[in-house]
């Protein structure tokens, strides 16, 4: 150890007086030589390789690896400057490959890997129905019972996300709101950036309410003004004082889900708040497994204590009440479906960009190999004067590492920009009514480590083969000034051919993957949904918060609809509780009077409450019977319209119109009611485009009990829906200035629901195209190189009478072989791996032959086209100068 320290010390000293030591060594050797020359017996002996000797001596007083690394870097920079085209291309290729990897990885990091910025995030668990059940929330009584279990939690909190409207009337200004339990901030250990955070004292029944702003909202909405604390803000028509601002790093407890304003759960005036999400810190010493055992034992009694008939229909579902709650470690935040829907696509894309990087690497490797020919002589000279091969390989690797790191640096900037683009894709929530996904690009250590790791790995990947091959040069022929001997070149050509074959295989794989995703997206986008999404403006009206008495609400909505219908361009307008593809659903039974009609669960169908004109507004065609009319009132006979699937299921082989069935629902009143089927409509997608047709029943608004619900108006127009917003808001305000409303378009809602497919199609389409381009460039480069190497052979062939077409065929046959092997391997790869995509595909098989064939044809054609240019050049070769050259 001491010895080692001493030697390090010596070396450090050397760094300071490098020149002194150089001259000393010079002197020492000169002295030796002089001594020897004075003795004739020795004078004839060789002194040996002085350069090598000096090199070996130097190694003992320096840090050879590090110093030579710096030498290499200097040399590499000089070389890079001298071959700017190669350097720029390499850096760009790397930037593209690494940028894509970094962008996707940073999304994965933000969504799945990053811990919450709170105290001891690793202690947090979420308490919820099992992840694979369709439920994610708890009824409030269950949360309250669990909160008081001091044997399980050292702290617990609950929250619910809700859109708060800050406007005091008119068009809504929605902010992302949170109802939180009093312990929310204190349990998380999140402090205030101004004022104070909420405490348990703020949360009691009948509390006056207090709002905590998020730091981001405070900055964007109040400009970071400290006087914001103490001001009153209007949330859903209620005035609430701002008591503080939460810490700058805190965005909420679910990745991608920020909040703007948090108020205590007790402030439940505005919206009937019936479900919460819960997290807690387990008591020290209690393992997750023990907690789960407790929860499993506790669940039946918790659910048994719920009122038999909750307002929320899901809480009444026996399926829900049979669930066992689970504790799930949640250091990375609450499992939020809007974002977890993107986990699989992101993982898939991570693999795709990995393959893109491989393709970029093989392109660079080909370039390097071609360039190595030009360097043959330099390398031979260096080998001849005593450089070790390892030393040369190291130097070539350094050059590549440098280019790769430069590419990575550029790639990080690219990634930043690509991240914003990606967020644009996924921020629109798949489900309507969900807050927008909010993610921040921040370079944490994980991303930096990933990027530099990828850069280093990539440089090794693309540099190792070329540098080993190029240092295997045969000294003699290279020194003799030959352009290098034939065997050497054939080896070079052969290696590039292997690399390009691999590249073609990978490119084909990516093309097939993108083909599948594009087809899947196309299938989804063009399927017959049973409605026409274009040109429909949706108006979400909130009469509850406008404090309109319940009894007057239906009439007021009628009034609004009547005015909307008179607007220019409007062809029809209607209202409904549910608009299709909003991922919300209501259910109820159909008790048909036929003997063998489905009963129990089989009798359950989807239901919707609609006004006359609903089917016209959405362009869902009526197959039989009639639509609801103004004549269907609370006092007339109860009527229903069912879809084709329901008609087939409950009235098989009969005309459903004119038949009766009975049903019960909280909206129909206390008793079972008898309904007359007056019409059958075409099957239309209900909650999601991906679902199969499901039996659905529609009931008229006028015959339902007026319940406090949020209604959506559908307005079909001949104009652009956005052009209708101004006149529509004027019309609504002319009815009552206190009404809160918000616009969206039906098309947007439908498109957003395809977010996952669109993301996959767009990204994989882009990368598939990129792969095709890279493969084309690769084939072109490699064939140009091969043709240049075979000039002599081609010249001779032509001299002895080979025609142009023979030469053309000769070169193209070469490419054909490469393409054939590459495509075969790529096809096999695709057949073996695309099964993994099955869950992400819609309406297309993972081994879709049409896609496969199309991709192979596309790649083979572009490959042949790329090779045609060098082949033609070869066939136009003038044999005489070539032969004279030799």
């Amino acid at each position: 150890m001491v010895e080692w320290l001493k030697s390090v010390g010596l070396r450090l000293k050397t760094l300071m007086r490098r020149r002194q030591l150089e001259t000393d060594l010079e002197d020492e050797l000169a002295f030796h030589k002089a001594m020897r020359e004075s003795r004739p017996a020795d004078a004839t002996r060789h002194f040996g390789n002085v350069t090598q000797l000096k090199e070996q001596c130097r190694e003992h007083w320096t840090f050879p690896l590090i110093e030579s690394f710096f030498d290499d870097v200097r040399y590499a920079l000089r070389r890079a400057g001298r071959a700017p085209a190669f350097s720029v291309i390499t850096i760009l290729l790397m930037a593209l490959g690494i940028g894509a990897n970094t962008a996707i990885f940073s999304l994965i990091d933000a969504v799945m890997l990053r811990s919450l910025p709170v105290r001891h995030p690793e202690e947090l668990v979420q308490v919820r129905p099992p992840l694979n059940s369709k439920y994610g929330v708890l009824p409030v009584p269950v949360w309250e019972a669990l909160r008081d279990r001091e044997d399980m939690f050292s702290g617990a909190f609950a929250w619910d996300q809700e859109s708060f409207n800050m406007a005091q009337g008119g068009q809504a200004r929605n902010v992302d709101g949170l109802f939180v339990s009093g312990d929310y901030f204190t349990t998380l250990g999140v402090g205030p950036a101004a004022g104070r955070v909420l405490t348990a004292n703020d949360d009691f029944r009948g509390c006056p309410g207090a709002a905590v702003l998020s730091y981001g909202f405070w900055q964007s909405h109040f400009g970071g003004d400290p006087d914001a604390v103490g001001q009153l803000i209007s949330l859903n028509g209620y005035s609430v004082p701002v008591v503080g601002v939460s810490a700058a790093t805190f965005f909420g407890v679910a990745a991608g889900n920020k909040f703007d304003v948090a108020i205590p759960i007790c402030t439940q005036g505005p919206v009937a708040n019936i479900a919460v999400r819960m997290m807690g810190r387990l008591k020290p010493g209690l393992s997750v497994r023990q907690a789960n055992a407790h929860l499993a034992a506790l669940s039946p009694s918790l659910f048994a204590a719920l009122p038999a008939d909750s307002v929320a229909t899901w809480a009444n579902d026996p399926d829900f009440r049979a669930l066992r709650l689970e504790a799930e470690p949640s250091a990375n935040g609450f499992y939020w479906s809007a974002i977890s829907d993107y986990e699989r696509p992101l993982q898939t894309m991570m693999i795709v960009v990995g393959v893109v990087l491989l393709i970029a690497c093989s392109n660079i490797a080909c370039l390097l190999l071609a360039r190595a020919t030009a360097r043959n002589k330099e390398i031979a000279v260096r080998l001849a004067i005593g450089a070790s091969r390892w030393r040369l390989v190291r130097q070539l690797l350094t050059e590549c590492l440098l280019l790769s790191l430069a590419g990575a640096l550029l790639g990080v900037f690219l990634a930043r920009w690509a991240f914003a683009l990606l967020i644009g894709f996924i921020s629109a929530p798949i489900y309507a009514n969900m807050p927008r996904i909010f993610l921040d690009f921040s370079l944490d250590w994980r991303i930096l480590a990933f990027t530099s790791g990828v850069a280093i790995l990539a440089s090794i990947l693309f540099a190792v083969v070329p540098s080993i091959l190029s240092t295997r040069a045969s000294l003699i022929s290279a020194m003799k000034g030959h352009r290098a001997d034939e065997a050497e070149h054939r080896r070079g050509v052969r290696s590039t051919r292997w690399i390009i074959t691999a590249e073609i295989a990978f490119s084909l794989l990516l093309l097939i993957v993108s083909g599948l995703f594009l087809k899947s997206f196309w299938r989804l986008a063009t399927l017959d949904a049973g409605f026409e999404a274009k040109n429909v403006l949706l108006v979400h009206v909130d009469l509850i918060n406008a404090k309109v008495p319940e009894s007057q609400q239906p009439a007021m909505r009628e009034e609004i609809l009547a005015r909307l219908r008179t607007l220019p361009g409007v062809t029809s307008a209607s209202e409904s509780v549910i608009t299709p593809i909003s991922a919300t659903a209501m259910g109820g039974p159909i008790h048909s009077h036929l003997a063998d009609a489905p009963t129990g669960r089989g009798a359950q169908v989807l239901i919707n409450i609609v006004s006359p004109g609903f089917f016209e507004a959405l362009s869902t065609s009526l197959v039989a019977g009639r639509d609801f009319t103004e004549a269907d009132t609370a006092h007339s006979e109860p009527v229903a319209i069912i879809n084709q699937t329901a008609a087939r299921k409950f009235f098989p082989g009969e005309n459903a119109v004119g038949k009766y069935y009975s049903s019960e629902h909280i909206l129909f009143g206390p008793q079972q009611r008898e309904f007359l089927v007056i019409g059958v409509v075409k099957d239309a997608k209900y909650a999601s485009l991906r679902e199969n047709s499901r039996a659905t029943a529609y009931y008229p608004v006028a015959q339902m009990r007026p319940l406090p619900m949020l209604w959506t108006l559908e307005v079909r127009t001949g104009l652009r829906p956005s052009a209708l917003e101004k006149p529509a808001s004027d019309a609504i305000e002319s009815v009552n200035r206190a009404i809160l409303f918000r616009f969206s378009t039906f098309e947007e809602q439908v498109n957003n629901s395809m977010g996952q497919e669109r993301l996959l199609a767009a990204l994989s389409g882009f990368f598939g195209g990129l792969a095709l381009l890279l493969a084309t460039i690769g084939v072109y480069g490699v064939m140009s190189y091969a043709v240049a190497q075979r000039k002599k052979e081609i010249g001779i062939r032509m001299a002895v009478g080979a025609g142009r077409s023979t030469i053309l065929r000769l070169v193209l046959r070469d490419v054909g072989a490469v393409l054939f092997v590459g495509c075969s391997v790529g096809t096999l790869l695709a057949l073996a791996t695309t099964k993994l995509l099955a869950a992400l595909l819609f309406g297309v098989q993972p081994r879709d032959l049409a896609t496969l064939a199309l991709c192979v044809a596309l790649l083979a054609t572009t490959g042949l086209m790329a090779a045609y240019l060098p082949a033609r050049r070869a066939s136009r070769l003038d044999p005489m100068p070539v032969l004279r050259e030799e």
């Binding site: 070396r11 020492e28 002295f31 002194f47 000797l53 003992h60």
Partner: protein, 112 residues
């Protein structure tokens, strides 16, 4: 380390041992070290410069030798090497281990 024609190739590390041993007597410059080894082995071993100087520098960097510049007998600037205490200790250990090895090797060679 190279040997003259016919003589046995030396095990690695032997050159270090020879240099250390040679320097026990007095301070020497590189040329003298080579000469001394040559002479003391009755011309059996000759040390090539290509091996000698890297070895001297290696031993110096390990702290087994120290060096200084002085004027030589023929009035030229020369670098003189001298054994350090650590070098002496290392030599003792190396000699012991060498003798053990050489006895062992001889035994093997003598057994039939």
């Amino acid at each position: 380390m190279a040997t003259d024609n016919g003589s046995a190739a030396l095990l690695q590390g032997t050159l270090d041992l020879l240099i250390l041993k040679t320097l026990t007597r007095r301070e020497m410059h590189g040329y003298e070290v080579a000469e001394s080894i040559h002479a003391n082995s009755q011309q059996a071993l000759s040390v090539e410069e290509g091996a000698l100087y890297p070895a001297l520098h290696r031993l110096e960097s390990r702290g087994l030798l120290s060096s200084r510049w002085d004027i030589s007998a023929n009035n030229r600037r020369a670098k003189y090497y001298r054994l350090t205490p650590a070098g002496r200790k290392q030599l003792r250990e190396a000699v012991e281990s060498w003798q053990r090895t050489s006895i062992a090797v001889s035994r093997i060679l003598e057994s039939t």
